[in-house]
Amino acid sequence: MATMNMIQALNDAHKVMMSRDEDIVVFGEDIGYFGGVFRVTEGLQKQFGKTRVFDAPIAEGGIVSTAVGMAAYGLKPLIEIQFADYIYPGYDQIVSEVAKMRYRTAAEWTMPMVIRTPYGGGIFGGQTHSQSPESLFTHIAGLKVVIPSTPYDAKGLLIAAVEDPDPVIFFEPKRIYNGPFDGHHDRPVKPWSKHPASEVPEGHYTVPIGKAAIVREGEDLTILTYGTMVHVALAAVEEQGLDAEVIDLRTLVPLDLDTIEQSVEKTGRCLVVHEAPRTSGFGAELVALVQERCFYHLESPVERVTGWDTPYPHSYEWSYFPGPKRMKKALEKVMAD
């Protein structure tokens, strides 16, 4: 066991897996000698050499497409897109090639690769360093979508993603790289070392893909969320004094429907929370699923707490971010009647 923040945990996952599997190659913008703008790949080039860890040209489409070729060869690309906001030039290759390869070749070629990318706001990154585009990948059959919320999960899920036979889009909540965030931007930042999930086992372990975590058991309502918002949601229910069941989905596709259904059937109320824009965010799918499957257990409409349907505005960051006040209002609404 060691105490790690998310960056260290992710870095450790790389080291564990690259030592075990020679076919893993890591590349992306600034990830080689320098170790990545968020330092997740620090020390890897030195340890594993330049042919397994190298800088890539600034061409997200080129990064993904060459990864496709490498996966076709039999390697396991574990690549970084510097910010999720910059994944779109690679979107065609992800949607048309990575996602569909197993299907269109009847499993003759598969695409075991992991595309890591930091996402989300709360760091004053403006419109192009703050986006949460996860729902755009959940609509694409063939992709798995994973989002950790703690150092422990980050390492275990990343190892699981690397071992997974299918392509995984791995979104890293950059706001909580260095410490959890309760949504109160005006309070001092807490370090991970104070959080139990910063205790990270050495060596190999996995957190299974497709399994949600009940991070708080409760009876009053169910909160479905992931990434940074897990911590914001947990803080909000404590502040409201509610006995909420908070579910950290961890994997958006394939979704842990069992855990969701069981919880909502128990509580009869449900709140969905994410930072991404509201319209056609992944929350919409969650609401649709819950009302399709648990309709007769619901005592009030499923509510959504989300970012707004605008670009992420630099100086209005804290009016955009779905923080404690938005949570409070939604919790009141879900608990009404």
Partner: protein
């Protein structure tokens, strides 16, 4: 202020948009006399280890081996033995017969779609012949010659075209989107140019692993405009990838002539110059020139000399696909008047010229190929044609989205099976 209203500059000279237009449109009589076709044998053949820059004069030339007298001539003559030549000829004839039969099958309603490569048979067949069996191709839909030349069972191809029970792709792909790992033929994508940087990635992987096999990527003239083309060349030059990047310039992209892809101002081979990699421009209707160029690039790649961009200059003699009627945008006799001739006729004439072939043998061989194709067609049609498909095996529709079927797809599978089909 509106940008549209440049009130300040009324007297300045007017800018004008240039919109490229092909030389001939329906109703015109094509006249290719201004097309400069250098004589066979005119291009020098640099050593495969030269600096990339030393190939750059070849990016505006046209490597040609077969002369007007049908003899092989010059430094690029690969000096192939007659058996290899005959094998290439046979493969090319098979491709053409195959295309004709499958085109007809589509017209007969036996499948939804087909694409011929008429006039371009030499390119895939000779390229395949020049590479090793273990090298990996990332093809477009117009390289059926690669498979045929590698001896891929014609029935397999046809079963794919019919989406029938013999289709190893389980009826999931549009006809002609073949895929076969054992034959070094990467899954064809419907999304143009995506395979080009993938070939570079495969070659990078081979280099990472200290392998000795190389990759060859294929793209059409029109599709060179995609961003993926630039990705391919950038990554290839940065990492010195052991890859051959081929542009098949058949001068048309559906209804758009190659000028719309930039061919008015530079050849496609010239793109190599900007990336500092080797480049060659080759007569794509000359099987020997194609063979020699690919062999050259392969030797270079195998000795860590890096990537080569090759433009094969040819002409798309038929419609783009069964969905296309080219008489709507170009003269119908353009293919016939196109001066680089028919690649099959030219290779045949060469074999005649060197005394290794005659009409009798050619007729017999053609009949054999024809019989082979017909037999394969009969065989594959036993396994069904498209209109009969899609009723059985509905459950397979949910396989291979992921390695394991997740709960939501299992539920959808149950629903689909409950639904049934009429």
């Amino acid at each position: 202020m509106s940008d549209k209203d440049p009130s300040l500059r009324r007297n300045a000279p007017k800018l004008a948009l240039h919109v490229p237009e092909p030389p001939f449109r329906p109703g015109d009589t094509p006249d290719f006399s201004s097309l400069k076709v250098p004589p066979a044998g005119a291009s020098p053949r640099p050593d495969t280890s030269v600096a990339a820059a030393e190939t750059h004069e070849l990016t505006t030339a046209l490597v040609r081996v077969l002369g007007d007298d049908n003899k092989a001539v010059g430094a690029w003559d690969p000096k192939l033995d007659p058996d290899t030549l005959r094998k290439m000829l046979r493969d090319m004839v098979t491709v053409r017969i195959f295309d004709d039969r499958m085109y007809r099958a589509q017209r007969q309603g036996k499948t939804s779609f087909y694409m011929k490569c008429t006039g371009e048979e030499a390119i895939a067949v000779a390229a395949q012949t020049a590479l090793d069996r273990e090298d990996m191709h990332f093809p477009t839909y117009r390289q059926q010659g690669l498979l045929i030349s590698r001896g891929y069972p014609l029935t397999e191809m046809m079963c794919q075209i019919y989406s029938n029970k013999g289709d190893k792709l389980k009826g999931r792909q549009l006809p002609i989107m073949y895929s076969d790992r054992k034959y070094g033929f990467f899954s064809i994508s419907g999304n143009l140019a995506t395979q080009f940087p993938q070939a570079v990635g495969w070659a990078m992987a081979a280099a990472i692993k200290g392998d000795s096999r190389i990759a060859m990527g294929w793209v059409g003239d029109g599709a060179t405009a995609e961003g993926d083309f630039h990705s391919a060349l950038t990554f290839a030059t940065v990492y010195n990838a052991p890859v051959i990047l081929a542009v098949v310039n058949n001068q048309w992209a559906i209804s758009s002539f190659s000028g719309i892809a930039g061919a008015e101002r530079a050849t496609f081979a010239q793109r190599a110059v900007g990336y500092g990699i080797a480049g060659l421009r080759v007569d794509g209707n000359d099987a020997l020139a194609v063979y020699a160029a690919v062999k050259w690039a392969a030797e270079r790649a195998r000795s860590n000399g890096g990537p080569t961009l090759i433009e094969f200059f040819t002409y798309r003699a038929e419609g783009h696909s069964t969905s296309d009627d080219p008489s709507g945008y170009r003269p119908t006799n353009e293919a016939k008047l196109w001066p680089l001739g028919d690649p099959i006729e030219r290779l045949k004439a060469h074999l005649f010229a060197i005394g290794e072939w005659d009409e009798e043998r050619h007729a017999a061989m053609t009949a054999e190929c024809d019989a082979e194709v017909r037999a394969a067609q009969k065989e594959s049609e036993k396994l069904g044609i498209l209109p009969e498909q899609g009723k059985d095996g509905v459950e397979t529709m949910f396989d291979d989205v992921y390695a394991e079927v997740p709960r939501h797809l299992a539920e959808q599978r149950d629903a689909a099976l409950a639904e049934g089909r009429d």
